[in-house]
Subunit: 165 residues, 2 copies
């Protein structure tokens, strides 16, 4: 086997219906709310999630038509290896965001800080656990932009194939 | 489409050949080194990765035969919704670890802090970027164990089907 067929567990609803002009990371969409809608038969798995302030969403970047090994990231002017970036044109087309959890009601999770396209298929939800997930003394290579720059940055056409829009 | 077929990009090599007795999170395997071996045709995508101190690995929990919606996590005695845990029996069978990057040489990445089974198929690598990935004031619901407890905890049989071993 050289691939894994992963079932969708739900869909992500956000105000972003167009890739262009989207925030490029959750911290650039801090006030943007959205809804994660889980398939009803999986609702039982959401129990206890509402105790966490933040969750990971792993999703399929289903509008990223291209796969590239070298990209110029939104926060840079220099070509970089795609695995050293968060670019959607990565070979896996997997997206990862940490969003703030506002509430859980039946099979719907209200979240804030979504940098995700409306209609994006969801693959997994995991709780953000500070003790596991925030390594001490981390350094961030080429990515020297401060949080303010990332918050203000918006996506453009570079990762979009027009035929996909 | 209700599933996504995601190509493997490589394999994760670790000292853990048996699920039983494994650390349950990277912080419990802080001194354990391993190697991430990328398919040679994707090596170009690793450029610039060595500037980052930590990376995310997203992988297929290929030995987690079961899918459950309610589990008793390693760090708890109470049944929890699976999406409020890091349990491998989650519907997606997707794993996520933050590991320390030691070096990149050709298509091989030396890492430290691997809580992953040897031979695990890799789906994606992303850089850990503190400005995106460490939300302020995060709270962790039922997960009240401190880092020391997590470091000391080892997995047992609860997520293993014997037929898979």
């Amino acid at each position: 086997m050289n691939a894994y067929k992963c079932d969708y567990i739900g869909v992500i609803r956000t105000p972003f219906t167009d890739l262009q002009g989207m925030p490029i990371q959750p911290c650039g969409a801090r006030e943007v709310t959205g809804e994660v809608v889980i398939n009803p038969e999986l609702q039982e798995g959401l129990k206890d999630l509402d105790g966490f302030s933040h969750i990971y969403l792993i999703y399929h970047l289903h509008k990223a038509a291209q796969k590239k090994l070298t990209v110029v990231p939104f926060m840079d002017t220099v070509p970089r290896g795609v695995f050293a970036t968060r670019s959607p044109v990565r070979p896996s087309h997997l997206g990862l965001s940490i969003v703030e959890l506002l509430s859980v009601e039946e099979n719907r999770i209200k979240v804030r800080g979504v940098d995700i396209l409306d209609g994006t298929p969801l693959l997994d939800i995991k709780p953000y656990i500070h003790a596991f997930d925030c390594p001490e003394n981390a350094s961030s290579g080429w990515m020297t932009a401060d949080r303010k720059e990332v918050e203000d940055k918006r996506s453009d056409q570079r990762f979009i194939e027009k035929s996909e829009l």
